[in-house]
């Protein structure tokens, strides 16, 4: 700005530095605590400078919690959710925006309403559905009388097989895809694409799939990056849902779930091994942190446009 305000400028920097301290000191303390030995980490107040036990602590934390397979599971889930969300959002928004049929506004609203209720609020019944995914359809068949009619006509009783998603990757991934965030983002994007593009493509004889694949998808790359970063962080950080549906922790446990098991303290009658706990915490929070740091531009863009 035009004016000279030396005192206010110093004050501004002071305030901003205080903000920085407030926001980053907890992360720094986690790091410092993870580099000291048991005795140092429990002295009050703890030193503010890293110690020399880093390698030992991290190796121990990694081995004790079996972070190898858990990190891999977290990656599988995060990438599954991200890819699934982008794919489903892109095609469903395409159907709503570029096709003209009767129910498209109804469908749009049916999908849009899901923004209102996050998974945590409907956690109990969603868990019951995940325990047997085909049950809703079985009950629909029974309730509408289709099974009775078929039973009377053909003499066969329709029983859909039981399909439990507990302790599986599909159970971890699918319910997280079933919301409208991405669809809404893609719809907004399609609406900004000029009509002339579709016109030209039609003129040149391109069908709907060709137009989607060769014109729209390449145009939506930034959109994809934005949605991708948001979904990666969101799905990596899931806690309650995996905690409920995964009991087979050895095979399907995720890294964030593991945090519950490394809480030290009198709760489990163990000595407070905070250095190991903090090493584990830092390892769990690193992948999404790196995504946010390196993909910041897309990340901010995605955040601002999905929620508005």
């Amino acid at each position: 700005m035009v004016e000279r305000t030396p005192i206010l400028n110093i004050l501004t920097h002071l305030i901003l530095i205080m903000g920085l301290i407030m926001l980053l000191v907890p992360l720094w303390i986690v790091f410092v605590a993870s580099t000291h030995d048991f005795r140092t980490v429990n002295t009050v107040p703890m030193p503010l400078w890293p110690g020399n036990q880093m390698v030992a602590n991290y190796t121990l934390a990694w081995q004790q919690s079996g972070f190898g397979p858990k990190m891999l599971n977290s990656f599988i889930v995060a990438i599954g959710v991200t890819a699934g969300k982008i794919a489903i959002a892109a095609i469903s928004a395409y159907s709503i925006v570029y096709f003209n049929y009767r129910f498209r506004s109804l469908f749009f609203w049916l999908i849009f309403v899901t923004l209102m209720l996050p998974l945590e609020v409907r956690i109990v019944p969603t868990y019951a559905v995940a325990a047997n995914v085909l049950r809703p359809y079985q009950e629909l068949l029974d309730a509408t009388g289709i099974s009775t009619i078929l039973g009377a006509l053909a003499g066969i009783k329709i029983t859909l097989p039981e399909w439990s998603m507990l302790n599986s990757y599909t159970g971890l991934i699918l319910p997280l895809i079933a919301t409208a965030t991405g669809t809404f983002l893609y719809r907004q994007f399609y609406l900004t694409v000029p009509d002339e593009l579709a016109e030209a493509a039609k003129m040149d004889g391109a069908g709907p799939l060709r137009f989607f694949w060769d014109v729209l998808l390449p145009l939506s790359k930034t959109n994809m990056a934005a949605l991708g970063t948001i979904m990666f962080v969101y799905s990596w950080n899931q806690y309650l849902w995996p905690l409920l549906i995964i009991t087979d922790i050895a095979n399907y446990g995720t890294a964030v779930m593991q945090l519950q098991r490394i809480v030290p303290g009198p709760l489990f009658g163990e000595p407070p091994r905070w250095h190991i706990a903090m090493a584990g915490t830092l390892m769990v929070m690193t992948p999404p942190l790196l995504v946010v740091i390196f993909m910041q531009r897309w990340f901010v863009r995605g955040l601002v446009s999905t929620d508005k």
Partner: protein, 295 residues
């Protein structure tokens, strides 16, 4: 208008493209939401069999339970105070970053980081930093023994989860406040400067009033988020204790439903929480429609 002037007419293809999303939404959203409604009006007989219709009885049980009102009271206090704290700090930081003094990009860059940290990781970090016998805040106890102990004192526990929640939400609010500030035309600020108003005067009379839409949007988002996403923090830091001092609504649903195995009671509570979240969202939609644009 949801569509385009130029459209394709292949209805089968359109149905095929939207089918996966509709199937997912039906299976994991509408059916569970409907089931919550059904369960909250029925009871499972103790020896198995079909659920029996009991009308409002589950809600009566919930509303007559002082433990439930305890949990509502704590949730409201928790949501309001962490929202106020997170938004206040974020607003100050965003307005000063928006002055764009040399080096402002560095602040902007690092203020985002806490957003990436998972709620339970925030919980674990704060549990350590604020532990009564290790970390930093415990120095208070050396000075005046017993003044700080979130494992024993309910008030301390609420302070702990509020701070942790506010810390994790500052980054999100900061991003939106900054985006809001940057959408205010620079010329307005310059005109005011020409008229002789100083930096602080311009913040109070130009920037804050024009941020009002962003502000109200964030109030709704923050409240919803504190009601809904607090599970990770509470579970790791206090597990609802001590003596139910941090038994937030989401946590109570979880413990009644999955530890107590009482689906009907949990469903009734879920329904109340759903209505709360829906009404908050509804306020937001009404307001979003009337959203003001300046450019």
């Amino acid at each position: 208008m949801t569509g385009k002037r130029v459209t394709f007419s292949n209805t089968w293809l359109a149905a095929l493209l939207i089918a996966p999303q509709l199937l997912l939404v039906f299976t994991f959203f509408y059916w569970p939401a409907g089931e919550a409604l059904y369960w909250s009006f029925t009871l499972e007989p103790p020896f198995g069999g079909e659920n029996q219709w009991v009308g409002w009885q589950n809600f009566k049980t919930v509303f007559e339970d002082p433990l439930y009102w305890n949990s509502v009271r704590i949730s409201v206090i928790f949501a309001l105070s962490s929202t106020a704290l997170a938004m206040g700090i974020a607003l100050i930081l965003a307005t000063f970053v928006d002055r764009q003094l040399p080096g402002y990009q560095a602040y902007r860059f690092m203020y985002f980081w806490p957003y990436a940290v998972a709620a339970p990781a925030v919980g674990l970090a704060f549990r350590f930093i604020f532990a009564p016998d290790a970390g930093f805040v415990s120095a208070l106890n050396q000075w005046y023994p017993g003044i700080w102990n979130p494992a024993r004192d309910g008030f301390d526990a609420v302070v702990l989860i509020t701070l942790a929640n506010a810390w994790s939400m500052v980054a999100y609010n900061f991003i939106f406040f900054l985006a809001g500030l940057q959408s205010i035309p620079r010329s307005l600020n310059e005109a005011a400067a020409m008229d002789g108003s100083g930096v602080l005067r311009r913040m109070a009379d130009i920037q804050f009033p024009l941020l009002a839409p962003t502000f109200f949007f964030l109030v709704v988002i923050n409240l919803t988020d504190s009601f809904v996403n607090s599970f990770g923090i509470v579970d790791i830091t206090t597990a609802g204790g001590p003596a139910r001092a941090t038994d937030l609504m989401v946590y109570k649903i979880y413990s009644d439903g999955f530890k107590g195995k009482d689906y009907s009671l949990a469903a009734a509570q879920s329904l109340v929480l759903m209505l709360l979240v829906i009404s908050l969202t509804f306020i937001q939609f009404r307001y979003v429609e009337r959203r003001v644009h300046y450019t």
